[in-house]
């Protein structure tokens, strides 16, 4: 063995040895309790301007109608649905990471799960806006809910778009409950550490009177475990339903039984990439080096690689089934995707999602933060292109050649999309300011299991 045992990834710690219970509580809660720095105000202000763009685009959309977007009678789903699927994909990964790794008892989950779940809630909330925005009559969206109206009509429960509404609503509610459950003991820490009366009252109210007694912890641990166990199948169902929006149609290129699992893995893939970006950014901005070690990034990069291989299999299988089957439209659709007007998006998608993540086979690259950041950003670009290829490219050349048409996004499409990025950042700036971004009680437990540190 030429390698030093300390350098071996498996022996590397997920928490720096100089951290004890007191320093964990102090370092993480002080980020919230001390006044915000100039960088925070700058980022908060700039992203706030982006949020104004988002709202301006939405208000003009409500005023002028959905025709301000580049959608036409052939490509009826444009950026709105692409962004919806992209955001919900990102939103799915946070809960998946948190819950799945909790059930798998992965110690490196501890430091990253809080902001992964925050990412979920913000991304899922933003995703939930797009289906409403893209309605022609958004003010009637509540007709999707089954309520006893004087008209006596009900939603059509055979449509995946109705399933979507229930799936996303359930998903947002359950994610918030899961996140808040994990937060309660940390809010109690903030209540006890806060020096200003206002902070004591606010965090005290939010902590709901948490005392940390053994009886509390007993119910708490049960509740968290079961919520985690519920969250995993929920995530799978939510993104499967998103897949059914496409897979239950008759469109060649969409009517595939592969879509549900393929979308779920795609969600995990893009979400993990986004978590890597957020982890690297927060680690540098808030000096979380004691809590987020190269071991975390290494583990996330490995999962990114595994997901990339499954995505590669799914892309390959789509082409294979189109060629192997007898459906002429399916094969024509596949050939047009690879050679037609949207071919650059298709090849860009394959490059970003399949080729680039292969760099993660190298342990040096997995631990190289700038390289990993670039890979993660490219994966997010690639996953956006994937949804672009699925939505726009497939719709643009369906069954009837006289209906073939291309889609050109307008400035309002771009404004809504870039505005949604700003909204996400804006939420995140608020989150890092008011909520402990690393779950303190779980890190204390980790410190306990790594050897008692008081």
């Amino acid at each position: 063995m030429s390698r030093n045992i300390d350098e071996h990834p498996e022996n590397e710690t997920v928490l720096h040895a100089d951290q004890d219970y007191a320093s964990i509580s102090r370092e993480i809660s002080d980020i919230v309790l001390r006044p915000a720095g100039r960088g925070w105000w700058l980022g908060f202000g700039l992203s706030g301007l982006g949020v104004l763009i988002f709202f301006a685009a939405a208000v003009y959309l409500f005023y002028a109608g959905v025709g301000i977007w580049g959608v036409n009678t052939t490509v009826v789903w444009g950026f709105a649905i692409i962004n919806y699927v992209w955001w919900i994909g990102i939103g799915n990964a946070g809960t998946l990471i948190s819950a799945m790794l909790y059930l798998a008892r992965q110690p490196w989950r501890t430091s990253i799960n809080r902001f992964a779940e925050a990412m979920t809630i913000f991304a899922a909330s933003i995703a939930g806006l797009f289906p409403i925005l893209h309605l022609g009559r958004p003010y009637l969206f509540y007709w999707l809910a089954p309520y006893p109206s004087t008209m006596g009509v009900w939603p059509q429960f055979r449509s995946p778009l109705v399933w979507d509404m229930f799936a996303i609503l359930t998903y947002i509610i359950v994610s918030v409950l899961f996140w808040y459950t994990g937060l309660i003991p940390d809010l109690a820490t903030l209540r006890d550490r806060a020096r200003s009366r206002a902070a004591q009252l606010v965090y005290g109210a939010l902590a709901l009177g948490w005392r940390g007694s053994a009886a509390h912890w007993r119910h708490y641990e049960r509740a968290y475990l079961i919520l985690a166990a519920l969250a995993v199948p929920l995530v799978v169902s939510v993104h499967s339903v998103v897949g059914y929006d496409f897979a239950t149609t008759l469109m060649p290129g969409w009517r595939s039984t592969l879509f549900a699992p393929y979308f779920v893995v795609g969600a995990m893939f893009s979400g993990f990439a986004m978590v890597i970006v957020i982890t690297i950014a927060l680690r540098a901005a808030f000096k979380l080096h004691a809590f987020v070690t190269p071991r975390h990034l290494d583990a996330m990069a490995k999962i990114l690689l595994a997901a990339s291989l499954i995505m590669g299999y799914a892309y390959g299988m789509e082409v294979f089934m189109a060629w192997y089957g007898t459906d002429a439209d399916e094969w024509r659709q596949t050939v047009t995707t690879a050679t037609g007007p949207y071919a650059p998006a298709y090849w860009g998608m394959l490059f970003c999602n399949i080729v680039v993540p292969q760099l993660c086979w190298s342990a040096r690259i997995r631990r190289n933060i700038p390289a990993l950041l670039i890979i993660a950003i490219l994966v997010n670009v690639g996953m956006w292109l994937e949804r672009y290829v699925i939505v726009v490219n497939i719709l643009s050349h369906g069954f009837v050649p006289s209906q073939f048409r291309q889609y050109f996004p307008t400035v309002w499409d771009w404004a809504t999309m870039l505005g949604s990025f700003a909204l996400f950042l804006w939420f995140f700036f608020l989150f890092v300011r008011f909520v402990p971004m690393v779950p303190m009680h779980e890190v204390r437990r980790l410190a306990h299991s790594l050897g008692e540190r008081s």
């Binding site: 004890d20 219970y21 007191a22 509580s25 102090r26 089954p146 006596g152 009509v153 009900w154 059509q156 429960f157 055979r158 109705v162 399933w163 229930f166 799936a167 359930t170 509610i173 359950v174 409950l177 899961f178 808040y180 459950t181 003991p185 109690a188 820490t189 006890d192 550490r193 005290g204 109210a205 709901l208 009177g209 948490w210 005392r211 940390g212 007694s213 053994a214 009886a215 509390h216 912890w217 007993r218 119910h219 708490y220 641990e221 049960r222 509740a223 079961i226 919520l227 519920l230 199948p233 929920l234 169902s237 339903v241 059914y244 009680h441 204390r444 437990r445 306990h448 008692e452 008081s454």
Partner: protein, 179 residues
């Protein structure tokens, strides 16, 4: 010390707390409570706490959510307003399974969250323990053991001496009268 006050011993490590609980139980005390800044493995077993009833509540509300969502969809689509949507049967049960699943999870998760709070008597903004000296560190880095004055073995002086024999950082009183 006022009558009705309980004693609270403060410890630096989870290990010391677990040892203290073992010795307190051997000494015959039963009305004891422990406070820790994280879910200490083995704490509930040491205290011999009964198993949480939460999983049963979650199961019941999960099933209720799923069954009611399925029956609602079936009733609305097949009985109340049967509509020929794309030639599908009125009772097209495979289409109803997804929303039923979501409601199963929703019912279970709501029962889990609110059940957890209810079983612990939360939200409860005030508790006498919050007045005890240094108890704000129970949520940060210290471990506490309280022997309640309700305990039949409780005696203000001998219980205090007993707790001090466990080598705590400090022993303080919790005044239960305030509540």
């Amino acid at each position: 010390m006022t009558p009705n006050s309980s004693w609270l011993a403060e410890f630096a490590t989870a290990e010391q707390l677990l040892n203290a609980i073992t010795r307190t139980r051997i000494a015959g005390y039963r009305r004891i409570e422990a406070y820790a800044p994280f879910d200490v493995p083995g704490l509930a077993e040491e205290l011999d706490l009964p198993a949480s009833r939460l999983p049963l509540w979650i199961l019941i509300f999960g099933i209720l959510g799923g069954v009611s969502a399925f029956l609602l969809q079936a009733y609305l689509a097949a009985v109340d307003f049967p509509l020929n949507a794309g030639g599908r049967p009125y009772f097209s049960w495979p289409s109803f399974t997804l929303v039923s699943f979501e409601f199963t999870v929703l019912g279970a998760a709501l029962a889990g969250f609110f059940g957890m709070l209810a079983l612990k008597g939360l939200p409860r903004p005030y508790h006498p323990i919050f007045d005890a000296a240094n108890c704000d560190r129970a949520s940060q880095d210290r471990f506490f053991l309280m022997i309640d004055s309700d305990d039949p073995e409780f005696d203000p002086d001998s219980t205090r001496r007993f707790l001090e024999s466990l080598n705590p950082i400090a022993v303080t009183e919790v005044n239960r009268e305030v509540s």
